[in-house]
């Protein structure tokens, strides 16, 4: 009777260069070899069958789709952020400039009566331009005073 390990190696073709004469195997060895072969076939069939039932691709495809969607969302968000950043970069200086102009204009809300007479023509009267102090006492109101000539 041959050792079981040798029978396994013989079955798996791992006993290269070692000659086995058929009469070297007795009935028990042959029966064992057949059993090893049957078990091997059964295990292979079982594994193949099991592997065919597993749908690996559909699971992977779902995950890939989710990854793709997440990537698209990230890209959209990145684009929006970039646009918002660009918009802010234009808007902030514009708002600051407008604010500064408003501030400059609002720093002197005092109403003044400054008046420059550029041309003065009268008929049948004489005219005098004079200035009368206004309520604030700091400015003056221009008065064009006409004295009608006697006719």
């Amino acid at each position: 009777m041959t050792r079981p390990t040798d029978l396994h190696r013989l079955h798996d073709g791992e006993l290269e260069g070692v000659q086995f004469e058929p009469d070297q195997l007795d009935e028990v060895d042959r029966a064992r070899l057949q059993a090893i072969d049957e078990v091997g076939t059964a295990v292979r069939s079982a594994l193949l069958g099991a592997s065919q039932k597993v749908d690996v691709w559909s699971g992977m495809a779902q995950r890939l789709a989710a990854v793709d969607e997440a990537r698209q969302k990230q890209t959209t968000l990145r684009r929006w952020r970039s646009r918002a950043r660009r918009g802010l970069a234009l808007l902030v200086p514009a708002v600051a400039a407008a604010g500064m102009l408003l501030w400059i204009r609002s720093t002197d809300p005092r109403v003044t009566n400054d008046c420059d007479i550029e041309l003065l023509d009268v008929s049948g009267a004489t005219a005098t331009v004079m200035e009368v102090p206004d309520a604030s006492g700091q400015g003056a109101t221009t008065v064009i005073w006409m004295t009608e000539e006697a006719r």
Partner: protein, 156 residues
């Protein structure tokens, strides 16, 4: 550095848009006709903003100041408005130009005429601060004189 450039660019753009060369604002003007007489009566409450001026020379000779009418008009640069004045006189107000004075102060160049029949009794061109008042006085009215107060505000 880029932000500073944009800031200065915006300032230039806003100033250009606000400059009279590109967009002259409308003027909202009011011409007040005031009668001044020697009789007691005081100053019309509607003329309270002119109290300081009307109680000083050359107005001290008159003791009663009464608002006769207010002619309010909205003018575009170059446009004219006419209005009736007492004793068959006619007034003419021409908005000639909007100007920016010192410190960005808005000013208006106006022409005021007072006519009686075919006679132009007064024709004057003046530049006045926005919100400020200029007075003309001396035309006879009743036993006193007629005073006109001109003031304008702009849209700017």
């Amino acid at each position: 550095m880029r932000a500073l450039g944009r800031f200065l660019g915006s300032m230039a753009l806003l100033l250009a848009l606000g400059s009279p060369a590109l967009a002259e604002p409308r003027a909202h003007c009011a011409v007040r006709s005031i009668s001044a007489s020697r009789g007691a009566g005081g100053i019309d409450p509607q003329l309270a903003d002119l109290q300081a001026q009307l109680t000083r020379p050359p107005f001290t000779e008159w003791k009663s100041f009464r608002l006769l009418a207010i002619h309010q008009v909205e003018l575009m640069p170059g446009s004219t408005s006419s209005f009736a004045l007492p004793e068959d006189r006619q007034g003419l107000l021409i908005y000639k130009q909007h100007l920016l004075g010192e410190g960005g102060r808005h000013r208006v160049r106006l022409q005021l005429e007072i006519r009686k029949g075919s006679e132009v009794q007064l024709s004057t061109v003046f530049v006045l601060d926005e919100g400020g008042t200029v007075l003309t006085a001396g035309n006879k009215y009743g036993d006193g004189i007629l005073i006109l107060g001109v003031a304008c505000k702009t849209d700017s």
